[in-house]
Symmetry: C2
Subunit: 579 residues, 2 copies
């Protein structure tokens, strides 16, 4: 089964990349191959591939993982260069399976920050992808040797990696190979956390989820990507071990995290400091970190929870996060990337030509010193079909609406749609067995929620038509989210909209919008009624006269994921509302 | 003249610590000696004093500076232990004047982060304080040897220290000794910045004010304490060189910084990341950094600008910052300290018994790995009289209202007041010359601004009475400050108030206040009318039903500087306003 996640049980079963083929459309037309090529060229240029051949070490301590994530993307995409990279990587593996280009640093002497096990995690995920798409080859040998080395070295004792990732990879390797030691190793890594298992650090133990055990934590916390990767493993383990209580714990943590620590876009991470979740309801639009990789990780977690439980709220969150975080990461041309995805940018970013040293959200950069996001986008785009549908004995369950062909057990459906630009969806039966089959399709929460369901014997040529209500809507925040009090946002279908102000427009800090009239559609964009507010010149900014309402002006809104594609600009999702 | 700043010219002239004596009252009763003792004991315990005797090095690379800041506090306070510390420090000085306990690290090999020149700055300020209070002694020898070493090593070339501080110290040493090389060295250090003079760092060049020259910068930016210390030197240099244009530049930078980058409390620094100013109008109450040391530095800068220009707006800012940042730093008992001073804390802090590794604002800690704030409070409290009044041929100018005796040129005034608890101020003439004298007193901006002025021949026993309006007032923010939109704060006199919620009160995240009725005084505290709002259980927090207004309840407000003295609690200054 060519799917990133293949649980041995669960409410829903993946169809994999062979069961779902994307057609041209919002997701089918993403520049996946361009991004893979871009990542390959940059990693070649900055020396992260050459690191495997020895010589002077280039890049950060976790740069090996970028090569592995690219290999995973290539495996899903059927890009034959994965074989060439496998040969490069294999040459660096030591006899006992140890594999890390930072040698001759002593092994495993800095588990807090060393990222050695983290890198194995991505290596293993690449290997599993390759096995599932292509079958066993040199990469699976490298991967199993590394995984066996990890089991030999870490099965006893109390050590874990500062950055979770290997845990879910080992579960998947178990699922692929059946070797139970990988599952057991994953279980021990997960259960050791919070013991504690790592040294104390200035950022605090919650940073790497070593503050409390995964069974006792109330909510996800600390470094967002670490927290989400670990939670993926918790769900995987709960499923493989049939541990219902653990699954419910993970569901509760997810629910509270989504309710209290998630931006409107689905982005997670309110603090630059520690790349971390903040406190409950600490959701600043301007300093939201919302790392692109956190969006990827959030989709990975929700995908696992959806398969395990069948609850459509997870598919809703996948949709929101894919359209408004993951799609926002890369530029439309696939050659530059956001690291952070805030909901407000007050000062237009500066164009970055080469490697950007900093993780800011003002403008996309072609590459960064920490360049985790481009390869994470590459492997996510290359495996997008995994999220579209599942299948079982009864039929097919459609979770994501996008132009695609879905085939399972003799039933083949062509989903035609211009979604998210149109709410019209046609499911055309292209092939069908004699026996009746049930077809279900999620109604997005924003359209009222629930599930469409049709069950009968199907004939080729039959069509199901759904028309989702695509009128733009005003959205207001929970009053506990202090940072956006008195503001409204606009959504249309699954898309969050934003105002983007290139040089000549009025400053976005000096407008208010009126919700007395509804947003008007202008193609993919929207227009709302705004007023310019009058502001005081520089003086003490508290206790002055109330601002007046100035000239009326129409304000254009664009889909959030498209912002930053027209050069340096300011941007905001949450718009102050005229009272 | 026993004053931290003694300009050779300027609109106003300091009276120094001998010209102003504080009486018991808000400032005169601060636990200054307790804090000096506390700092001495802790630095002895954690080994920062012992570092000067050799042996294993303890503490961070800048820990020498804490010893020097304590010595400065002792010098102002007349604490004889400054002599004992001088002997300890002197033994560590090398023959050529170099003095740093990090030896045998190679000298000046990391100007970006090494803090060697920064430490000299604090050493020099301690030496100048000692010279001004006591006269020359071993400490002045140590200081001049170090300063001469700096001149010899750095006069040519393009090097500066990553952390500004030595610049203003050298100007003051010039003012004290008359040696022009110190002024010239300071000038070169200041003018080199932005050239650039330092290596690039991940935080960006603005972090240490090496992005643009001090003459071209529009606003203060980067690391707040660094920016403010540098700006102090800019004002000092402008005054000593008679450079009006440079002074106007510094005034403009200050004006824009106060208008766009300053919290209601006077706190500066919106980002934990880089301990930095954020963008214009990025002023989050919850993640405000507002380092205690930044409050001290802001007072130092405003004091210099007040002396240079005579503009009372600088005295207004000193008042605001002293009452609402500096006074908030230490606990009422003087034995624990805030590092950061946010305007909202959602999660009650945890009690810290020993050395706290982290700079959080939830609860004061007795000591920290980076413990710059306690010694900065100590030297500020020990030199508080400097800020109260100035004098000239015409008479006395009173800038800060507090119980004190002010003497200058035969005129002696006793200022009696319970300020800030009462607005009644009595200036009683205790001694007076025959000739007429002019007495002026600033009317705080919150009371309408302007200056009271009385001029005549005075007789002992004569009294001037002023009664400032102390009714509490609602304050609203500039609409560009997104983070506190829809909220109000309450001030009374110079004090900012806040709601503090110990365990049993309703969560501060679930209240709104009504401004239909005025705040009622309850001793030093206030009471406002609030409502509990109803909130939804955990679910998607956007687009849900509007919150309802629930039970009415009175909400107590306390002076912000007093918060966190009753154990772990949540707190907020900005209160959502019922509409």
């Amino acid at each position: 089964m060519a799917n990133p996640v293949v649980p041995s049980s669960g409410a829903l079963s993946p169809l994999g990349l062979s069961g779902v083929r994307l057609s041209p459309g919002f997701w089918g037309s993403q520049p996946t191959q361009t991004i893979i090529d871009h990542c390959y060229e940059w990693m070649d240029r900055v020396g992260w591939i050459a690191n495997f051949g020895g010589g002077p070490r280039r890049g950060r301590e976790f740069s090996d993982s970028e090569v592995y994530k690219l290999m995973e993307a290539m495996a899903w995409a059927g890009d034959p260069r994965v074989e060439e990279l496998t040969r490069v990587v294999a040459r660096a593996q030591e006899l006992d399976g140890y594999l890390n280009t930072r040698w001759p640093t002593a092994r495993y002497t800095d588990l807090e920050w060393g990222h050695e096990l983290y890198c194995y995690g991505h290596l293993i995920q690449a290997g599993v992808a390759r096995m599932r798409v292509h079958g066993e080859d040199q990469l699976s040998e490298v991967v199993c040797r590394a995984a066996d080395h990890v089991c030999a070295r870490f099965m006893e004792g109390n050590e874990v990696c500062g950055h979770p990732e290997i845990e879910m990879a080992l579960v998947e390797l178990y699922r692929q190979t059946g070797a139970e030691r990988y599952l057991e190793m994953a279980r021990r890594f997960v259960e050791r956390r919070g013991g504690p298992a790592l040294a104390d650090i200035e950022l605090g133990r919650a940073y790497f989820q070593d503050d409390v055990s995964v069974r006792q934590a109330e909510v996800l916390r600390g470094h967002v990507v670490r927290a989400l990767y670990l939670s993926c493993a918790v769900v995987d383990l709960a499923v493989e071990m049939g541990d219902k209580e653990l699954l419910e714990t993970a569901e509760g943590q997810w629910e509270r995290t989504v309710a209290r620590r998630t931006s409107l876009t689905g982005g997670m991470g309110s603090r630059h400091s520690g790349e971390s979740f903040g406190d409950d309801y600490e959701l600043p639009p301007d300093r939201a970190y919302n790392e692109t990789c956190a969006g990827v990780a959030s989709v990975m977690l929700a995908h696992r929870l959806l398969l395990a439980t069948g609850d459509p709220r997870y598919a809703d969150q996948i949709e929101r996060t894919l359209y408004n975080v993951v799609a926002a990461g890369p530029a439309l041309d696939g050659h530059s990337f956001f690291y952070t995805n805030p909901l407000q940018v007050r000062v237009a970013g500066e164009v970055v030509e080469g490697v950007s040293p900093r993780a800011e959200g003002g403008l996309r950069a072609p590459w960064r010193e920490v360049s985790c996001c481009p390869t994470n986008i590459a492997r996510t785009f290359a495996s997008l079909p995994a999220y579209v549908a599942t299948g079982d004995d009864q039929g097919i369950q459609v979770h994501q609406i996008t132009a695609a062909t879905i085939s399972h057990d003799g039933l083949s459906l062509r989903m035609d749609t211009d979604y998210p630009w149109s709410g019209k969806v046609t499911l055309r039966v292209e092939a069908a067995p004699e026996a009746p089959r049930r077809i279900t399709m999620r109604t997005p929460a924003w359209a009222g929620g629930g599930t469409h369901e049709w069950e009968r014997s199907w004939r080729p040529g039959e069509e199901i038509r759904v028309d989702l209500p695509m009128a733009p809507r005003w959205v207001r925040p929970d009053p506990r989210i202090d940072a956006v009090r008195g503001c409204v946002a606009v959504e249309r279908g699954p898309l969050v909209y934003c105002a983007e102000s290139p040089g000549d427009a009025p400053p976005l800090s000096e407008i208010e919008v009126s919700t007395a009239t509804e947003p008007v559609e202008r193609g993919a964009d929207l227009e709302v009624e705004a007023h310019r507010i009058t502001t005081e010149p520089d003086g003490w900014p508290y206790g002055g006269p109330a601002s007046g309402v100035g000239e009326r002006l129409p304000l254009s809104l664009i889909p959030y994921y498209r912002w930053g594609n027209r050069g340096p600009a300011t941007m905001r999702v949450w718009l102050p509302e005229t009272r």
